[in-house]
Each structure stands twice: as structure tokens, then as C-alpha cells.
């Protein structure tokens, strides 16, 4: 079923916004105002955007160190995110968390772990909580191919299948974990694809095609929401920039420049933009307008972040325990 024009524009807007935010962070990072490690999402925007478009506001997401895209796609406040990167007390985590630990309770993002594979069981537990409370909420979790090395994935998926939990596992296979290619870490395709087919909704798809991601996610979410159990979607994609920080900080020589070039051409944002322009869904004037709105929003968010107050030493001991 083809998407409505509105839905397509919405999807594109989400992707474009994530892209522009990431680009701005990258271009400003060397100023050292954002004293936080950043893991940029450039090249993977279709995944967060496609999956989150299939989720309700009260559905949960769980994410990882590369979380900006997930946070924004799920509805996270840009000002609060930028303030967090600027280590300000107006940040979503009040400056205690930084780029790797974003939170947005209002949109079901209950906090982000930077331990690879750490969020997978937590998302599974959120699914369990929804099931136990007989809520029809779904818990979706984003993780990388690196996280798929970890035993927590196996243990979690087994448990979710056992209990038929409403959890959607979204593996973002961008080919790399820091400087290690997937082939040096995985024995082949992730075993869940073939191994668990009869008990698990599984799909391996092009993660750079936002409509395909949306479509697959919508089916997976419907499956999970209706009590049919968990889903596992592997999205093949690529991290166009470095692992962390801005490009000039990424170690050189571990990736073939041709590989990067190839994937730059497969850029999900540009490709989708081209497609929507060709289809006439998007016009150049609308695009210009979109870009302007996003740019202004980013300006405002950076301004908000820059001018927000820093947390002071006297709050250091707050929040260790919940009273």
C-alpha cells in the first residue's frame, strides 16, 4: 500500500531534520563546546525515521550510543538534546548524561545505554511490562551489528519468543563496529534470520529505503501489538562518517574509500529526496521551505543550548536515589 503524500513528506522531513542536526553538530564539534563524545547517525536516517513512524507516542523505544536519530524520530525535543550535548542543566538529562544518554520519558524513551547490547534486554523487559499490564503498547529497540555479537541478544530474543512479548528488535547493520568490519565478528548472517523463522517475525531489508523500513516496521509492530510475539528486522545500512566525533577525528585507513563513496551515493536522505521530487510529492519550493524551517529550528536549539545555564557543583549529589 503506497504511503499518502502527507506520510511521505512527514517521513522525509524526519530524515532531513536528523541529517541537518547531525551535520551541524559535526561542523561545530571541533569548537569543543560540546564536551561529549558524539556518534553521528548520518547515513542511517531512514531506519529511525521509518521505524518510529510506525510507532505510537506511547510506544517505547530503546536505543544505543548512536542515539540522536532515534531520539528525534520518536519525538524528542531538539532543544533539550542540544542542551544535553552542551552539558547544560536544561538538557534532557540535565547535563548528567551527555550525547550517549538521552532520555525522553514523554515519548516512551526511558533512557539510553551506551553499553553495547545493554539496551536489548531492557527493551525486552519493557515489552514484558506492557504485556503484564495488558497494555497494547509496543517496545522497539535499535542496536548495531556490534550489539548482535553479544549474548544478551540471544538471551533476550529467546525470552521474548518464549513469552510472545511485544518487542520489535531493529538491528542497524552498518557494516562496522568502530573499526571492525562485521565479517571479522560474525559467522555469517545473524542466526535469527533462519533459525527462528517460525516463532519470530523476521526480515532483512535495505535500511536505506525509508518506505521499505516503514512498511516492514508497520507489519512488525502490528504483529507485536496484536500479541503474536516479537519481531526482528535487520536493516542493512552504512555509517557514512566516523565512529565517534567528527570525521577528521576518525582513524584513517580502516575503510576502503570506494566503499564509503558507494554508500554516499546510496545516501538515504538524498535518494529519498530525489525520489519524492521525481514523484512530485516534494517540490523545490517546499524543500527550500523545509530546509529553512529546520535550519531555523537548529539555530534556535544551538542558541538555546549555548545560552542555557551550566549545572553547578552543588547539584552533583542530586539524583543518586529516587525518593
Amino acid at each position: 500500500m503506497p504511503l499518502t503524500t502527507k506520510a511521505r513528506l512527514q517521513l522525509f522531513r524526519t530524515m532531513l531534520r536528523i541529517r541537518r542536526v547531525q551535520e551541524r553538530i559535526e561542523s561545530e564539534y571541533m569548537k569543543d563546546e560540546m564536551k561529549t563524545p558524539v556518534h553521528l547517525y548520518i547515513g542511517q536516517e531512514a531506519i529511525a525515521s521509518g521505524v518510529c513512524s510506525s510507532l505510537r507516542d506511547d510506544d517505547a523505544i530503546n536505543s544505543n550510543h548512536r542515539s540522536h536519530g532515534h531520539y528525534l524520530a520518536k519525538g524528542g525535543d531538539l532543544n533539550a538534546m542540544m542542551a544535553e550535548l552542551f552539558c547544560k542543566s536544561t538538557g534532557c538529562s540535565r547535563g548528567y548524561g551527555g550525547s550517549m544518554h538521552l532520555v525522553d520519558v514523554a515519548h516512551g524513551n526511558m533512557g539510553t545505554s551506551a553499553i553495547v547490547g545493554g539496551g536489548i534486554p531492557i527493551a525486552t523487559g519493557q515489552g514484558l511490562a506492557f504485556q503484564m499490564q495488558k497494555l497494547d503498547r509496543v517496545s522497539a529497540v535499535f542496536f548495531g551489528d556490534g550489539a548482535a555479537d553479544e549474548g544478551t541478544l540471544y538471551e533476550s530474543v529467546n525470552f521474548a519468543m518464549l513469552k510472545q512479548l511485544p518487542v520489535v528488535y531493529v538491528m542497524e547493520n552498518n557494516g562496522w563496529a568502530v573499526c571492525s568490519p562485521t565479517a571479522t565478528r560474525h559467522c555469517g548472517d545473524n542466526v535469527f534470520h533462519k533459525g527462528a523463522g517460525d516463532r519470530l517475525f523476521t526480515a532483512k531489508i535495505d535500511g536505506n529505503d525509508p518506505e521499505l523500513v516503514f512498511d516492514t516496521a508497520e507489519k512488525a509492530v502490528a504483529h507485536a501489538r496484536s500479541g503474536q510475539g516479537p519481531a526482528f528486522i535487520e536493516c542493512v545500512t552504512y555509517r557514512i562518517l566516523g565512529h565517534a566525533g567528527c570525521l577528521q577525528q576518525d582513524p584513517k585507513g580502516y575503510r576502503d574509500p570506494a566503499e564509503i563513496e558507494l554508500w554516499r551515493e546510496r545516501c538515504p536522505v538524498c535518494t529519498y529526496q530525489r525520489k519524492l521530487l521525481e514523484l512530485g510529492v516534494l517540490s523545490h519550493s517546499l524543500l527550500t521551505e523545509l530546509e529553512a524551517v529546520i535550519s531555523a529550528e537548529i539555530d534556535a536549539a544551538f542558541e538555546f543550548a549555548r545560552t542555557s545555564p551550566l549545572p553547578t557543583a552543588d547539584v552533583l549529589h542530586n539524583h543518586l536515589f529516587c525518593e
Binding site: 517505547a60 530503546n62 538538557g91 534532557c92 538529562s93 540535565r94 547535563g95 548528567y96 548524561g97 544518554h101 532520555v103 520519558v105 526511558m110 533512557g111 545505554s113 553499553i115 545493554g118 536489548i120 534486554p121 531492557i122 527493551a123 525486552t124 523487559g125 519493557q126 515489552g127 514484558l128 511490562a129 506492557f130 503484564m132 499490564q133 517496545s139 549474548g151 544478551t152 538471551e155 533476550s156 529467546n158 525470552f159 518464549l162 542530586n318 539524583h319 543518586l320 536515589f321 529516587c322 525518593e323
Partner: protein, 351 residues
């Protein structure tokens, strides 16, 4: 298993338990029953509470602590888990974030080593890491499996590790009354709480009120008054220390026995006040000595109560070794009443 033979049913000593005195009278029931009653009441009173863990619906019911719960509350609220301690601990964290109040029975502390990432990197940090935006109310439970050749991997008393972790509350009850009251407090707490019980406590019987009640987390109690030396004893060693003190009273040494009940937060004031009166400190713990619970309590007193100290602190612990399995080696390994007695004498008389 003949574990049960290592310590027969006994009544608790008649501690001067000021907490209980304030309460209505209790019935004399076993430690495992007290725990079971706490879980039963928590499950009845709060629909968010559930109990999970490998074997919680066994006929043996986790040495009796979880016995029968699944029959009363159903397999949805009291359920067995796969042997996947790493992820299932994360599942508990997630369930807490999703609005539930999980109680995860881990059987033995040894297996908690598979749960360290979720416990230390996640549960204990979650509230702080997000500036207070979310909280993780959960209870982890494990029982030290001393005895009968349990050996190196099934008998560890690992509180020395967990006491080091900010963001985690750590409870080690010594009486039936506290077993129930602290379990109910732990479940009501909005933070991750780890309860480490000890198999040597499981068959003791003590006075426990029937109605639900809580014992405050972070408050220790003086189990015996004494003017000569302060003995801080943990878990089942409270009873051993008490017995040691009763014997030493005949020799004219009056030891004050403190049961901190909670190791983190620790009731430092209670300990310091006592040392201020006695001038001497013995700390005894079921775990290893180096870098463990006695290190913290000893250092804390040497830091904050130094002026009152008249003699070197004394630490009475199991030796710094993996637990051997054979019973002759076990006997040489584990400390008890006599070691504590020797420790008290050393603190008081210098040798």
C-alpha cells in the same frame, strides 16, 4: 540435598531487638516463612509486584522463600526464567522502567556475576545518568550457599563487591523479623535493592508479626549492649557474635553487638556512637577480608571515630581464598563463634 543438615532448626537468640518491641507481638516462624510471607503480602497489596527467577516455582521454592506463590498468584506474576542471568537482569530493569516492580530471585550470589553489567552499569546508574528522569524500582535477591561442599562457585558471599557500587542499596538481614520487614521495604523502594541472604539463617525461627510492616533501609540495630568493645557483625554472624559475647560475659568482657542490617547505606552513626563508648572495634563478615565489608567499616571508623579508638581494629573474616569443597578444608575456612571470640579478646586485651 542435605544442605539442611548443616544447620538444624534453632530459635533466634533473644536479641534486645528494639524494633520488634515497638511492634505488636509476633508468632515464631522460620526465616524462609518470613520471607515467603513478605512476598505473599507484597504480591497481594501491589499489582505491579511480580517475582521471577530460575526455579521460583519449583516445589522447593527457593529454599522455601517462594514456595506456593505461583499457585496463589499465577504463572504470570510468579514465573520461572531461562538460565540467562545477563539478559534477564536487564529484563527486570526494563520491566521496572515499564511500570512494574520486579523481584528477581537469583539463587546464589555467585550467579550475580553474570548480572553485573545490568546491575552496575544500568540499574544502579539509571536514575542519576538521566538527571532523575526515570527510576528503576527492583529487588534482586540471592542467598549465600555455604556448606556441604558447595565449593568455590556456589558459596560466595559477594557483598564486598556490591557494597562498592553507588546507586545500589544492599541489605543483609540477620533475623526473621528483618527478613520480612526489609523485603517489604526493598519492594516499596523506588531504587534497585539487592538482598543477600545466608543459608545459615534459613532454618532459624524468630518472632514475626503477621501484618505487613517495613524495617527502614539504612538503620542498624544494637543486638546486645556492652561497654567494652563494639562488634559489627553481618548476616548469620550476628548470632555467632551474640553467642561469643554471651560466653565472654562470663570472663568479664561485655561486647556490644551491632547488626547494621543494611550495608549500603550504612548506619555509620550507630557504629560511631558505639565505638565512642567502647573505644574498640571488631568487624566480622561472611565474605573475604581484603577489600570487603570489614575494610569499609574499619576504615570508616579509623577516619571518623579515630579519637575514640583505644586499640587496633580487628577484622574477622573468611580467608582470602576461593571456598574449598572438602569438609575438613571448609571447617578450616569458615569463621564462627570462636573466631569472633578470639577477635574480641584481641581487641580488648591486645592479643
Amino acid at each position: 540435598m542435605p544442605w539442611s543438615r548443616i544447620k538444624p532448626d534453632t530459635n533466634e537468640p533473644d536479641f534486645s531487638n528494639d524494633v520488634l518491641l515497638d511492634n505488636k507481638a509476633g508468632r515464631r516462624i522460620a526465616y524462609a516463612e518470613a520471607l515467603n510471607e513478605a512476598l505473599f503480602q507484597a504480591l497481594s497489596l501491589d499489582p505491579r509486584v511480580f517475582v521471577m527467577g530460575q526455579g521460583v516455582d519449583d516445589p522447593s521454592g527457593m529454599f522455601g522463600a517462594t514456595r506456593g506463590l505461583h499457585l496463589k498468584f499465577g504463572a504470570d506474576r510468579v514465573f520461572d526464567t531461562p538460565l540467562a542471568e545477563t539478559a534477564l537482569s536487564g529484563v527486570a530493569v526494563g520491566a521496572a522502567l515499564g511500570g512494574m516492580r520486579p523481584v528477581y530471585f537469583h539463587n546464589r550470589p555467585d550467579f550475580l556475576l553474570l548480572a553485573m553489567d545490568q546491575l552496575v552499569n544500568h540499574a544502579a546508574k539509571w536514575h542519576y545518568m538521566f538527571g532523575g528522569a526515570a527510576c528503576v524500582p527492583l529487588v534482586f535477591w540471592a542467598c549465600v550457599g555455604r556448606g556441604w561442599g558447595s565449593a568455590a562457585q556456589h558459596s560466595q558471599a559477594l557483598q564486598g563487591l556490591f557494597m562498592h557500587v553507588p546507586g545500589l542499596k544492599l541489605i543483609m538481614p540477620a533475623t526473621c523479623f528483618d527478613a520480612k520487614g526489609l523485603m517489604l521495604s526493598a519492594i516499596a523502594d523506588k531504587n534497585p535493592v539487592l538482598i543477600i541472604d545466608h543459608r545459615m539463617n534459613f532454618k532459624q525461627r524468630g518472632l514475626v508479626p503477621e501484618e505487613p510492616y517495613t524495617v527502614p533501609i539504612g538503620k542498624g540495630v544494637i543486638r546486645r549492649k556492652g561497654r567494652d568493645v563494639t562488634v559489627v557483625a553481618i548476616s548469620h554472624l550476628v548470632a555467632e557474635a551474640y553467642a561469643a559475647a554471651q560466653e565472654l560475659a562470663e570472663e568479664g568482657i561485655e561486647a556490644e553487638i551491632i547488626d547494621p542490617r543494611t550495608l549500603r547505606p550504612l548506619d555509620e552513626e550507630l557504629i560511631l556512637e558505639s565505638v565512642a563508648r567502647t573505644g574498640r572495634l571488631v568487624v566480622t563478615d561472611t565474605g573475604w577480608k581484603t577489600g570487603g565489608v570489614t575494610a569499609e567499616i574499619g576504615a570508616m571508623v579509623a577516619e571518623k571515630g579515630f579519637a575514640s579508638l583505644k586499640a587496633p581494629i580487628v577484622r574477622v573474616c573468611n580467608p582470602d581464598l576461593p571456598t574449598p569443597s572438602g569438609y575438613t578444608l571448609e571447617r578450616a575456612y569458615y569463621i564462627g563463634k570462636d573466631d569472633i571470640k578470639a577477635g574480641i579478646v584481641k581487641a580488648v586485651r591486645g592479643s
